[in-house]
Every structure is written in structure tokens, then in C-alpha cells.
Symmetry: C2
Amino acid sequence: MESIMIYVPIIMAVVGLLFMAVKRSWVLKQDAGDGKMKEISDYIYEGALAFLKAEYKLLTIFVIVASLALAGITFLPGATTHLLIVVAFILGAFFSALAGNMGMKIATKTNVRTTQAARTSLPQALKVSFGGGTVMGLGVAGLAVLGLTTFFIFFFHYFMGGVWTNSADMTIVLETLAGFSLGAESIALFARVGGGIYTKAADVGADLVGKVEAGIPEDDPRNPATIADNVGDNVGDVAGMGADLFGSYVATVLAAMVLGNYVLRDIIIANPDFTDIFGGIGPILLPMAIAGFGILFSIVGTLLVRIKDNNAKEAQVQGALNMGNWVSIILVAISCYFLVQYMLPKTMIMEFYGEEPKDISSMRVFYATIVGLIVGGVISSVTEYYTGLGKKPILAIVQKSSTGAGTNIIAGLATGMISTFPTVLLFAGAIWSSYAFAGFYGVALAASAMMATTAMQLAIDAFGPISDNAGGIAEMSELPKEVRTRTDILDSVGNTTAATGKGFAIASAALTSLALFAAYVTFTGIDGINIFKAPVLAMLFVGGMIPVVFSALAMNSVGKAAMDMVYEVRRQFREIPGIMEGTGKPEYGKCVEISTKAALREMMLPGVLTIGFPIAIVLLGMLIYPDNNQLVAEMLGGYMAGVTVSGVLWAVFQNNAGGAWDNAKKSFEAGVMINGEMTYKGSDAHKAAVTGDTVGDPFKDTSGPSMNILIKLTCLIGLVIAPILGGHADGHETIVEKTETVVVEQPAVVGQEKSEEITVDRQKDSEGNVKATVVISTKADNNEIKTEEKTFEGTDAEVNSQIEAFKKARK
Amino acid sequence: MESIMIYVPIIMAVVGLLFMAVKRSWVLKQDAGDGKMKEISDYIYEGALAFLKAEYKLLTIFVIVASLALAGITFLPGATTHLLIVVAFILGAFFSALAGNMGMKIATKTNVRTTQAARTSLPQALKVSFGGGTVMGLGVAGLAVLGLTTFFIFFFHYFMGGVWTNSADMTIVLETLAGFSLGAESIALFARVGGGIYTKAADVGADLVGKVEAGIPEDDPRNPATIADNVGDNVGDVAGMGADLFGSYVATVLAAMVLGNYVLRDIIIANPDFTDIFGGIGPILLPMAIAGFGILFSIVGTLLVRIKDNNAKEAQVQGALNMGNWVSIILVAISCYFLVQYMLPKTMIMEFYGEEPKDISSMRVFYATIVGLIVGGVISSVTEYYTGLGKKPILAIVQKSSTGAGTNIIAGLATGMISTFPTVLLFAGAIWSSYAFAGFYGVALAASAMMATTAMQLAIDAFGPISDNAGGIAEMSELPKEVRTRTDILDSVGNTTAATGKGFAIASAALTSLALFAAYVTFTGIDGINIFKAPVLAMLFVGGMIPVVFSALAMNSVGKAAMDMVYEVRRQFREIPGIMEGTGKPEYGKCVEISTKAALREMMLPGVLTIGFPIAIVLLGMLIYPDNNQLVAEMLGGYMAGVTVSGVLWAVFQNNAGGAWDNAKKSFEAGVMINGEMTYKGSDAHKAAVTGDTVGDPFKDTSGPSMNILIKLTCLIGLVIAPILGGHADGHETIVEKTETVVVEQPAVVGQEKSEEITVDRQKDSEGNVKATVVISTKADNNEIKTEEKTFEGTDAEVNSQIEAFKKARK
């Protein structure tokens, strides 16, 4: 029996997309301003599209190559992966690109409309800019849920006829579905890294020649790199972030489904007649349902984001955003309670590694989702503490700026480093507690619950760069000062939400990676990952190194690309007559082209590193240990763990150090008290702070945020490779059932009762046929152990009933 | 039978110490120069002694508190640790302090003599400064081998009567010996961190006010902080480094002995009658023997370090050092060959985790030692590439300096980060290959071989700061320019050896930690460390965070202490009349006092973090899992792995970034070509490079080098806590012996032969009584398994012979 519940997430996704369409047409109907504004906005729009077009051209080649490689994998001996994974991969990549593209288009259309709205009032400007963000958020979330659910339903019908058969078949469904996630995450990697390099190359290049050398203000239309700079905000902060969260969203739900499948397996082993009103797959559908309802509650949240007072300050705007965010989080929490109660059996038997299987009530799964929601909330506060204006760490950096750039840099680095302390403790606590509540299924559902408000998070995130752009357009169009003041308020709030958004992104990436990691271990069927084996430990080291080297590559890329930009801007200042007087027209397109080319060229090496290393490890491992795929699987697992642990640390370090430097610099705008003197922009201390910000730029906008994708993609690649490593392909699993103590006769000495232990060892071939061997050892008081062994064959259900019958017969 | 071999390392150590005494009296006999030189040298000597005195006073309190805690541990139920561990701990601390003290005394005596020698010739100056280094190196190595061997012999007699009984007794000997290592490493932590903070606070403070504000040159006698700066070189680079390598040396040899004990256990299980000409403990004595011979060959190496040409340049001086170093390394390699052949059985049975026990020939152990020696050599080249003058990375940083401090900093950070790539691959390769050759015993012996030339390494390391000081004295005493030119050549070589020495230190720390980690796993008797268990994974995260936070604390401490220094120097410039004209005398003592106080105050928090966290994890773990010490042991193991992986990464990153910035700045002294123009000191690019160097200073001299000790100490604390976690205390170990296939009757179907598997499960109580249960399962072709089980009690040897008899009787 197929349940209607399987279609519910699709309905929610469609509702989200419809709401998005309505919002989109409302935004587009807003006044886009007059001549100059429109002209600039068109430049930005075209520059952004040109970049995406060039990027997609390159990525098409990548997708073709990767598809061929994936197809190759499915033909490897022993691999259970189905060729359909290639289709899923291509469509995952396509959906991800579509989501990024859609978000960027609306963002580049909204910016000028926000500027225009800011000419009337601040509430209207917020309404327009946040409207654009909402379109982006709902678009990404809607496409993610729609794509993932549709593919799941398709594969579920294709491989299982739409009816639950056994967990091995479902594993094939989910393995194939992993292709969708892999496609999405691969595109996300390039979008994040490419976008990050683009935006910082343009930003740093524009600043170095414009602000520092020529002494003209930021966003001055005479600066040839200024359009590239504004394009960068869109390709980096909007398209990059969109692709990132699209990838996270899909990966999280997928991981939870994979783990749900294993929960189901254990339920069925304990109770072969198990079924529920969802066709027996409630635990697998639950994460999709949470995601679907999350879209609805995000819509509710977005409706609450508004202000009335035209003289509102940052605090009110931030308050409005917080209100919307918290309401959607609380609604998700409530929905989790009902969904968990409705969709899961009252109690489940779960296996905790190295312990006896335990009875877990569905309430514990609910607690795990609450853990995820709490982490999502707390991480924002932690990030805000370390990067927020007026907070202690920022004030300390400001003070240190008075003794020069060196001490400013040291203080910023130290702040970023120290910020790993509460963050890692929070993550460690979340892992531990959600696992304690409901095993790795709990960890995955914690992540799912956290990600359920993705649409809302993304709306808040995207509104920042839109407002930033709106301010830029106001400046370049030489609009009255009050317009810029209004957009500046929005921009300033946007800076804070950018930092907290990064905290949210890394928290979700950390939990998602762990869930994927758990799914990987279960897919390969290894006995955990033992770092006491030297090859595994060696790979833990190698994995730990990757995020560091990746970050360095990204930073160097920004440096190189920025230098290209510097030379071009200098050339234009030198060669175009009248450019500084405003009579000569800068060649904006040249700068856009340079950023585009540099970003595409430089995103290759980090990409190759990310994708190549896990594959290299598997090949090397198989070469050295040709008969020990399990060890190779453990080595890859060690590598994944290394990348995750180190990646989380370096993400937090880089994001927060970068954010802290940025706001330390911003503090000088309103003036700061240093050694009893008010110090402002232009002072030596401010110059030192500007240096810090330059260092922080690639940290917080290029290398730092890329870590999220690096760790998720690494774990996804592992998951896709897993079936080759044979694990569940040879289908060998041993289940130790409960030891029963049967007192056959009153023993002479207490403690010498006759006891028996039942072990079931089952192997499954690729067609789902099960061969189970039951071993019953009986220990008597005379130090003698007797064992009986019997083998059964058939489908999972058949074998289970035979075993039950056999056990009953013995009694 | 007790072998004479056990005393050989002591003899070598005494030879080393005697040679040291001769060298020392030669150095002290050298001319210490005239009035002003002597006066300055006395200031430095007294300042250094004052710091050590204050430090030791504080550390005495620490040692008392830690001793009480350790004593408490021995009384915990189930702990096998003997109270004597407290004595070992105290003496380990004492020896470490003694080694640091001795080294620093000779260094502060040699500096002025080097200055005086430099007035005659460069070869003589090298002879004196390297002579001082040699005294330091031999003193540290001699004391380490002497202390460790003496304690081993004492405990071996105390617990085992000087005769091999069984591996459980030997475990108690080595557990107690671990106290010596713990004491040494604890002192090293404070010496390194305190010294690092001291030296950088003085350096940065002196530079900021002296060079930058007042515009007087480095080491100018008018600068009140100049003596503190020179004292800092001694307490940081000499005493800190000495204590660090003393700790590494002891820990490495200890870890190898612990693993040797387990090698021996497996040998004896396979062959209960095993003995050798070393009283049956060859594998345990081997690492001590390698260390002993290493002292001799280091002496040979030091004798080769000399130059003849008074007009020699850096290259010749470096060449002389390299010659001595390589000769001692090659001699150690040769001695390893003979020692391995002589002291180990031709083949040993070793257990590789998760695999069948293997026959390992002693030649494979030799190969493992070669791996260690190669790593020691290659790491120097790698470090030199990333930090050496004239190399590509440095040139790139120099170029980036032209666009300001921001780009210089980004380039330096990126260089440090990229440098983790070859370094980690080298370490991972070393772990993997030395393990593949001879298991974790191989890893430990690789580390031991590498550390065998510690005396030579330390001589090379210590000669740097001595020459640096000599130059300072020349400057402050206003000696002729050629003197400073000569000491500058030595100083410049010293900068390179300082960087490569740090590479050596982290390589040794990495291998030592892994060996300790392996010893820990074996001590606790856990089944490896499975990061698929969420609490273990959570601790891996927490462990990974610690080095980052530790580094941040150290950096902040330097910042705070430097500010104190700045205020004091400013005050003296303001208040002491005639100070700038050279008529008023600066109060050097006040600055020394400030550095001393700040260093002692600031070293506390990092120390508490390092020591407190492992203990907190164990307590928390025991609270949450009161009945599952094994899980708690795995959690602590996960933490140790996290600290090690992350610590190695951050050490390499910080050391190399710091070294790179330093030499990028130095490049400007000879002039560099930037964009086609020669650029010198005083240019804007140079100023940017100076900013980079300021950031690099705490990186390379405070937080970076502390990582070594952090990871070693963490693993040692784990090792000392191990017995509480019950592992071998409940003495439960299961040995799966080889499966024999006995064809009882010709089977009807091939593959259905009757086979049997023998499992021996042994438990040992704290008095060494063994209870072993032998289970023999026989599988017949009718799917039926029969098992026989029999239990034996007695000593290890008795039980072994009973089992043999039982097995023979069955046949």
C-alpha cells in the first residue's frame, strides 16, 4: 500500500514555489527607477549572467566527465550502484544550477527596486529587498524538496514497484538518489569557490586602486571595477550561498533517509510483520515531511518580517528578521512533535555501535530534532558574540589597532581561533546528545530539523547582498543622501546576518557530514572506523590537511585574481581620457571579464583537490590491499573524519576572524575610544584595521564558506564510492540477538544456570536473496558449550518467519 | 639472567656527560672579553637566572599539587599504578629542569665568549658558539638517557627482581616509568610556553618602542628592554627548546619500550620458552641502546663541525653543520642495523590490528628505523624550502609586500598553510610505512632512531641563539663592525637551523605521540578507537579544537605582555634623564621583571587547558558511563587523536608561516627586486614585511613550538590515566590462535573439511595470576559446531605450558 504521505512534501514544495512566483511578480512589478539607476542595474545583471553563463559552460564539461566516471563505477564488479545514478547526478547538478540562477536573477532585479523603494521609505525598502530574498529562499528550498522527493518516488517505483520489500532494495534506491545530492553539491563547490574568488578579486582590486591609490570612494562610478564588485556580491553571496544551502538541504534529508532505512531494517528484524500507514516506510519519509512542512512555516515566518517606522534603526530591522526566524523555528519544533508521533512507531529497536540494541521511543527522536533546532539558534548567538559590533572581542581588536596592523592582525587571528572553543563544544554536545537520544538517525534528524527553515534562513541571507547592491546603485546614481542612509541600515543588518548565516551553514554542514559519515559506515558495512589501524590514522592526518591546503589555494587565487584586476584598473585610469573627471566612460565589461576568467581558472585546482583525493585514496588503498576492501573503506572513512573535523575548525576560525576584522574596521565609522581619545576613519588605527579587513576578506567570503561544501562533498563522494568497496554488496551482516537465560534444571551453584545465545548471520546477494545462518550456543555448568547451527534461504521476510518458526519449535 | 646490555646506555650517557664536562671547561676557559662586554653578559646571565628561579619556584608548587593528584590516582580502586610513579614524576621534573638550567647557564656564558672570539676570527667564533651548543646538546641527551635508564633498572629490580617474569609485571614497571616522562614533559610545557611568551613580549615590546617609536637600532644599549630581549633568546630558544627535546627524547624511548613489551608478550605466547642473551628483554632494551649509541655518534658529529676559512660565508658554516649532522645520522643508521640484528630475535610474531598475527623479521624493524631517519632528514629540506631565503615561497611573499601589509599577511598565511601539504603527506607516509614494516613497534623505533641524534640536533639549535646573543653583545658594547659581521653570519645560519630544528621537533613529536597513542591503546586494552561511536567522534572534535585555542591563548598572552613592556619602556624614556643621550642608565632590571612576571602569569591558562581537559573528559565520561570504562578510554583516545592531528597541522602552519615572514623581511636587507626596482630596508614594502614579521613572531616562537609539547603531554597524560580506565587492570585479553584445518575424514564435498579454531581468553589479576580459558570449536560438514572449553590457572608460563600440554593431549 502506498501512502499519500509520500506526496505531501511535493505538495508543500509546489505551494512554496507558487508563493515564490506570486512574490516574484510582485517584486518585478515594483518601480525600477530612472535612467542611470536602470543602466547600472543592467550592467550588474548582465555581468552576473555573463559569469553564470561562462561558469555553466565549464561546469557542463565537468558534469559530462563526472557522469562518465560515475557510469564507469556502476560497471565495476561487485558494485550495486545502478546506472540511473548518472541521471540523478545530472539532474542534481541541473537543479542546483537552476536554483542559483533563479536566485541571482531575482537578486539582480531586486537591488535597483530596493534603491527606488528607499527613495520613499525604509519599511518599503525592507519589504522589497526581503521580498527578493524570500523569492530566492523559497525557490531554493522548493526546488530541493521537489527534486529530491520526485526522484525518490521515481526510484521507489522503479526499483521496488512503489512497495516496501526489504532494506537492501531500499539501499539501492537511496544509493541512486545519492547521485542527485552529489550533483547538487558538486555544482555548489564550484559556485561557492568560483563566486568567492570572483567577489573578492573584484572587491580587493577595486579597493586597492580606487580607494587607496586614486582616493575615490567605494562604489564610485569612475572606478572601472565597481560593477564587477557589485556583480561579485551576487555571484558570491547570492548564487554561491544558494547553491551551498541547496546542497546542504538535499544532503541532510538524504542522509536522514538512509539512516531511516536502517532503523526500519532493525524494526523489521525484531518484528517481521511490521507495517505502518505509510506503506511501512514512515522512518524514511519523516525527514522529507519535516522538510516539506518547513517550507510552509518559512512562508509564515517571511510574512512576519516587516517594520512600520520610517525612522527605524538597525535594531528594529534586526528585530523584525529575528521575529520571523524564531516563529518559523518554533513552528517547525511543534510540527516535529506531531510528525514524529504520527509517522514513527511508538518504540523502535535501534543499534548503538558496540552496545546491545535498545528500545527507543519516538519521543527521543523528537528530542533529537529539538537539539538540532537549539544548535541552529545558539550558533547564531555565538557567531554574533565574536563578530558583532560593540561586543568585547571586536572592541579588543579595535584597541589593538592603535599599535599597528601587526597587533590588529594577531588580535583578529586569535579571536577567530578562540571562537572555535564554544562552537566546537556546542557541536560536540549536539553530536553526543542527539546520538544518545536516537543514534545516528537522531543526528541526521537534528540536522534535518535545523535545515527545515532553510527557506527563511536564505531569505534573511540574500536580503543582505541585495541591500548592499541597492546602496551601491544609490551611490553610483548619485541619489540623495537619505536614500543611501536607508540602504546602509539594511546593509549593516545584512552584515550581521551574513556572519550568523555562515554560522548556520557550518553547523548544518557539520551535522550533515556526520549523518553522511554514518550512512557511509552503514553502506560499506564496516565495523566502524578504527583509528588504531595505522593506515586509517595516516588518512585521518591527510584528511585533516586538506581543508588547510584548500583554504590556502583559495586565498592565493584571490590574491592572483586581485592583482590582475589592479593592473587592469590602473591601465584604464592611465589610458582612458577624462575618466577621473567623469567625462570618459570606464570599460566596466573588461573588469567583469577579468573577474570571470580568473574565478573560473582558479576554482579548478581546489575542485580537483576535493574530488580527486578521496578517489586517489581508494585507488591507492585497493592497490596496496587488493583483498581488503574493508580496510580501504575504513581508510576513506578516516579521511572523511579528518576533513570534517579540520574543515569545521578552519571554517569557524576563518569565518569569525574575517567577520571580526570587518566589524572592527566598521567600528571606526561611528568613532571609537582608544586610550581615552575618540578615533575615527582616516586615523592610523583605522588604517591598521583596514589591513585586517583585507586579510579577512578572503577568509570570510572565499575560503571560510567553502569549507562547508568541502566537507559535505567529501562525505558524499565517500557515500557514492561506498558500494564499490563492497560492504553491503556482499551483504554480510551479523545480528546478535538477545541472550536468553534458560534455567533448564536448578543448578548446583548460583551463576551456573544454563544459558543460550542466538546469533543470526545474514548474507544478501544483489537480487535481494537472503541466506541466514542461525547459531544457538548453549552453555551448561560443566564448562561445555554446545552449538546448533541452521541455515535458511529466501527473501528477508521469508527468512525472518522461518527463523521465528525454528525458534518456536525448539521451545 | 641479567644482561650487561641493560647498563650500556648508562655508560654511553656517562661518556656523553664526561665529554660535555670537558667541552664545558674548555668553553669557560675562553676569554670573556673586557669591562662593558662582561657587564652586559652578566646582566643577561642574571636576568635569565632570575627568570628560571622564579619559574622553578612556581613549578615546585605545580609539582607538589600534581604529585598529590598522581598519588591519589594510585589509590583508586582497580588502578594498578604504583605509588613510586610519584617519585618518578618528581625526578622527571627535576631532571628536565636541570637540563634546561644547565643548557641556559652555558649558553649565557658562551655568548660573550663568542663575541670575544669573533674579534679574532670566524672559525674561532664558530668553535666557541658551537662548543656551547654541544655542551647543551650532550647535557640534555646525557641526562635523558641516564635518568630513564637508571629508573628503568631500578623499577625492573624493584618490581621484577631484575628478571623477566611476564609482560603484565613489565607493564607495571613501564607504567611507573611513565611518571618520569610525564614529569619531564610537564616542565617542558611551562618552559616552552613561559619562555616563548617571555622572549616575544620582550622582543615585540623592545621593537615597538625602540625601533618604531624612538628610532634607535636593535640591541641599542639605550633601550631598557634590550637586556630582556637577549634574556628571552636564552629562556625561550635555549631553555625552552632543551626542555622540549628532553621531553621528546624520554617519551619516545619510553613509548618504544612499552610497545617492545607487547612484542615480547606475543613472542612468548607463540614460544613460551623464549629467551635471549639480554635476559629475555631484547625488544625492550633496543630503544635505550639506540639512544645510548646515538650519544656517541652525536659526539663524533660535533667534532666534524668546523671551518678553516676566516672569510667563510653562510654556506660554508651551514655546510659544516650539515656535515656533522649527516655523519651522525648515517652512523646511527649503521648502528641500528647491527643493534637490531644483535638484540632482536630473527623473526617475531606481531599482531597487526584486525589482521592475523604475522611473522616479522628483525630486518623489517631496521627498515622502520630507516624510515624515521629519512623523515628527520626530509622534514628539514621541506621546512627549508618554505622558509629559506631566496626560495620561491619567500620571493612570492616579498613581491606581495609591495601592495601592502594585507597582501603580505595573506601570502604568509597561505605559505604556512600550503606547507602542511608535503609535511603531512610525509608524516602519513612515515606512519603507514613504519607500521607496515613492524607495527606500532616500528613506528616507535622510527621515532627512536630519529631522536637518537638529539644531542647533535640540539647543539645545532642552541648555537643559533648563542650567536644571536653574541651579536647583541657586540652591538651593545660598540665593538668594531667586523665583529658584528662575523656574528651576523653565524646568526643568519642560526635562523635557518632554528626553522629546520622546529621541523625536526614537530616530526619527532608526531611520531612519538603516535607511539604513545599505541601504547595507550595497549595499556587500556581497548579494541582500538572507533570514531563511529558518537561520543568518541565528539571527543575527536574537541581534541581538534584544543591546539587552536591553545595557540590563541599563547598569542594573546604575548600581546598582553608586550603591551606591559611598551608602557614600561615609554615610562623610562620619559622619566630617566639623559637616557637617550647615553648619560642616563636604563633600568634593565625592571623590564626583565615585567617579562618574567608576565610569562609566569600567562603560562598558567594554556597549562591548565592542556592538563585539565583530558582529566575532565575522563571524569565526565565516567559520570555518564559509570559501567563502561572501555568507552571512556576510547573517548579519551579520540581526544588524543584530535589533539595530535590538529596539533601537528597548527604547528607546521604556524612555524612555517612565522619563518617565512621572518625571512621575507630579512630579504630586504640585501635588497630585493620588486616590479623591476631594487627595494631596500625602509621602503613601504619593507614596512609591510615588518608587519608580517610581527604577526609571525608569536606564531613561530610561542604558539607554534608549544604544539609539540601539547600533543606529547596530552598523550602522556592519557598513558598515565590509562590504568584507571581499567583496561589491563582487569587483565582481560583474548588471543585468537591460528585456525587449523584438520581433515578428519575425506569429505563428500570439497570445502566441507572439518576445521577447528582455538581461542584463548586470559585474565590476569594485579598479582600476576592468570586464568586462561581455552575454547576449541570444531565445525563438521553437517552444519553442526561442537565446542570444548577448558580453564587453566597459574602464572603466565605455567598456563602456557598447560595449554600446550592440553593441545598435545587432544591430538
